[in-house]
């Protein structure tokens, strides 16, 4: 377990190899081997470490490794006298991070493997570059997960943001891609701004940045039930960070745009791992948060609102990846809801299961897109079941899992959340159930539109089209031969993930179903300050029967969603359009994502009209999701500052020079060029001096 620092470092080495050497010298195969090899080694290490962790008794499952000093101790004033600002490169393995490293390395490896085939048509340097970024991402993600202090986590936090930026903008020649990357980075930066301030406040309050130490200290402070104390402020600032990273309202806008990146990236970063970092961070600071009930409430509300809003948008999206993206936002909202109601373990559990089925769905959609020759619009798909059975089967399993069909992983984790929400606030529960129903609907809408119905896509050579004619406009160097099953390297990860999506839930079978909810007990030590002591006493419990009843309701709702989808898209495909016409207003709102992006478009147009390219970038980058006016003020003030700088401040400087120059015209008459005149002047001075001396005596 002392070698856990190798877990992040291995992918880091892979990234360095691919980045420094690979881009120039590796062929594709070598680059892929390096990337996958390091990930595999990392996974192996994670497994070993995890096994060792399991081998320890429950309350001793905590291991910290300090690799090196990073920032050596420097004295600094804190709330409690002079402290010492010190950050080591330290890593912690405990149940929570143990689970996370398994998720990251496991799913990471699968996605690496998948990418080997998916990115195959990229040119060689780009290929190596891709794997470099991907490995780099895993490095930072593992750093984030394993870091045992706030600042180390922040390193990973910013690092994954960077990789996200690089990977979204991987096809940087596409304007939309580079825009999306920039948007993601800058929106994340806003979140980070809160996070880093939170970190400063943590240090100021506790005099340390170590998670464990902070938790111990915080546990001894009173719960701030009544108002906003310092702990609440910390939690709020930290949560701002989480909002940015995990794409919650109001900073969620970057995530759908991020779908510009290659699909494996979407699967790994924007579904399975990075976006869950916010949840992870909140879970990591469970003790702090549980001392700030008001913030918890805010977390829950924002999570819930995001879940519903994203789900509604997801209902009508037609881009296959965007549906999944909004689904991700929605599911992340669920996780925050869970943490907000105090069910940290449930949140983490859902995080894990979500990682499986969402990665599966994204990879499946990638497979579809691949098969459809980069087509992403579901309306131009359909009937793909016959062409790509494996993809169909695995995606089906994924959809079932996310919809909460019993006995699949999503069922267990989602029901745990719903159950805990019910205990907390019934209104929340109701809304959450509605969101769950919508989830089921749009997921199956996706499945049905993609795999059922008849084929609506473009014709292809050798199939529907006529022979001997090339479709040059189909893009790519190679002719497209119609939808086809993806190569083995892509389907195998799909299958593995599908197995995971089915089985992952069984680590957390609730007691009501005869399970022991093992995952909750396993994670418990991570969420409380002292092992064995509950975070907040014994929560209210319902009987197993009531719990089963709740499950039944949610299953029913999910079933209803699936049924509606079936009715609208299989039985009577025209219903969907009818509904859309009947509820034209809401439908338009939903299709247009509540006009949020349109607002920005309007901003863009106006910005362009004024000719302020600066406004365009600044507004699109920073304010996306915040107030529009901020953008205006900012750019205007920058212009004004510029003018002020140029004319007023600088003008003063020039004025001084002007005065000197003008004055010199008069004085230059003295300059006769006759040395003796100058000597005469000197003599006058001597005369004056001597006279003064003579008189002065």
């Amino acid at each position: 377990m002392d070698l856990i620092w190798l877990i992040p470092v291995l992918p880091g080495i892979g990234a360095a190899l691919n980045g420094l050497v690979g881009v120039r010298y590796f062929d594709k195969r070598t680059a892929a081997y390096v990337a996958c090899g390091t990930m595999a080694a990392s996974l192996l290490l994670s497994l070993v470490a995890f096994a060792q962790l399991l081998g320890l008794p429950g309350d001793e499952r905590f291991h910290q490794v300090t690799v090196a000093e990073w920032i050596p101790p420097i004295p600094l004033e804190t709330a409690g006298g002079i402290g010492s600002f010190e950050v080591p490169w330290a890593f912690t393995l405990d149940p929570l991070s143990g689970m996370m490293i398994l998720v990251v390395t496991g799913i990471g490896l699968l996605i690496h493997v998948y990418s080997v085939a998916y990115m195959d048509h990229e040119p060689r340097p780009a290929y190596a570059r891709f794997f470099c970024y991907l490995n780099l991402f895993c490095f930072f993600m593992l750093l984030l997960v394993l870091g045992s202090t706030f600042l180390v986590m922040f390193v990973g936090w910013e690092g994954v943001g960077l990789c996200s930026y690089l990977l979204i903008g991987f096809w940087y020649h596409k304007q939309s891609a580079s825009d999306a990357g920039k948007k993601a980075f800058i929106v994340n930066r806003i979140g980070d701004w809160g996070f880093i301030l939170g970190i400063f406040l943590v240090f100021f309050t506790f005099g340390t940045l170590d998670f464990h130490a902070v938790a111990e200290l915080a546990a001894e402070m009173p719960v701030e039930a009544a108002g906003m104390g310092v702990l609440s402020l910390i939690c709020l600032l930290l949560f701002v960070g989480a909002i940015g990273k995990s794409a919650q309202i109001p900073l969620y806008v970057w995530l759908p745009d991020a779908m510009e990146g290659p699909t494996p990236v979407s699967a790994l970063i924007h579904a399975a791992t990075m976006v869950t970092a916010g949840v992870y961070m909140v879970g990591r600071n469970a003790v702090l948060f549980s001392h700030a009930p008001m913030v918890m409430e805010i977390v829950a509300i924002i999570g819930l609102a995001t879940a519903i809003m994203a789900a509604t948008i997801g209902l009508v999206q037609t881009d296959i990846k965007r549906v999944l993206a909004y689904s991700t936002v929605s599911q992340l909202g669920y996780m925050f809801l869970a943490t907000g109601v105090g069910a940290f373990a449930a949140g983490a559990f859902h995080l894990m299961t979500h990682a499986f089925f969402k990665a599966l769905l994204f990879l499946g959609s990638g497979s579809v897109i691949h098969a459809m020759n980069e087509e992403q619009d579901m309306r131009r798909m359909g009937g793909l079941k016959q062409y790509m059975p494996v993809t169909y089967a695995t995606m089906g399993i994924g959809a079932l899992a996310i919809a909460g069909v019993p006995l699949l992983s999503g069922f267990f984790s989602k029901d745990e959340i719903l159950y805990r929400t019910f205990l907390h606030n019934r209104l929340f529960w109701m809304l959450a159930v509605v969101a769950a129903g919508m989830t089921a609907f749009y997921m199956f809408r996706l499945i049905f539109m993609t795999f059922y119905q008849e084929y609506r896509g473009p014709a292809w050579e050798g199939g529907h089209g006529d022979h001997g004619e090339h479709h040059e406009d189909d893009g790519g160097d190679h002719a497209w031969h119609g939808p086809h099953e993806s190569p083995r390297l892509m389907t195998v990860p799909l299958i593995v993930l599908a197995v995971g999506a089915v089985l992952a839930g069984y680590v957390g079978v609730p007691a009501a179903l005869g399970g022991s909810n093992a995952i909750e007990h396993f994670l418990e030590p991570s969420f409380v300050a002292h092992a064995g002591e509950g975070a907040h006493g014994e929560a209210a419990h319902l009987s197993h029967l009531a719990e089963l009843g709740l499950m039944a309701i949610s299953v029913l709702i999910a079933g209803l969603g699936i049924f509606l989808a079936y009715r609208n898209y299989i039985q009577r495909p025209e219903t969907a359009d009818e509904w859309a016409e009947r509820y034209a207003g809401p439908h338009r709102v939903l299709t247009n994502k509540y006009y949020v992006d349109e607002l920005y478009d309007a901003t863009f147009v106006r910005g362009t009209m004024v000719g302020a390219r600066g406004l365009w970038g600044f507004d699109g980058g920073v304010v996306d999701g915040a107030v529009n006016g901020t953008g205006w003020t900012t750019v205007a003030s920058s212009r004004i500052s510029h003018v002020l700088d140029k004319h007023v401040v600088d003008g003063l400087v020039n004025l001084v020079g002007w005065v000197c120059q003008e004055g010199s015209y008069g004085f230059r008459r003295v300059q006769t060029g006759l040395i003796q005149n100058y000597a005469f002047a000197t003599l006058v001075g001597v005369f004056a001096f001597v006279t003064w001396f003579l008189v002065g005596r």
Partner: protein
């Protein structure tokens, strides 16, 4: 009056100095102006030596050595300039050397 004090030397020095100054101011031949400057330097030297011997301190004489060195350098460079100038303008009249004005 018959006892020679440093003040006598000072007066001599001052007089010689002023003679040099007048030479600098009045003459137009730049070579003579240079010579007047040498007179000025000598006036200073007289003072230095006189006070050195008065104060029983050698520093004054040491300074005379330096002054002479500087005078030598000055003469060398200055006369070099004069020659160079003369070669171009065929004159050593200082009133004709007034290019360095606005």
């Amino acid at each position: 009056m018959l006892e020679i004090t440093p003040l006598h030397y000072t007066a001599l020095s001052a007089a010689l100095f002023i003679i040099g100054v007048i030479g600098v101011l009045v003459r137009r031949n730049i070579i003579i102006i240079f010579m007047s400057i040498e007179l000025i330097l000598n006036a200073v030297n007289i003072n230095l030596v006189a006070l050195s011997s008065q104060l029983q301190n050698l520093v004054g004489q040491v300074f005379v050595v330096f002054v002479i060195a500087v005078a030598a350098a000055e003469a060398a460079v200055g006369l070099g300039i004069i020659i160079a100038f003369y070669r171009n303008k065929e004159t050593v009249n200082i009133d004709e050397m007034s290019l360095m004005r606005w």
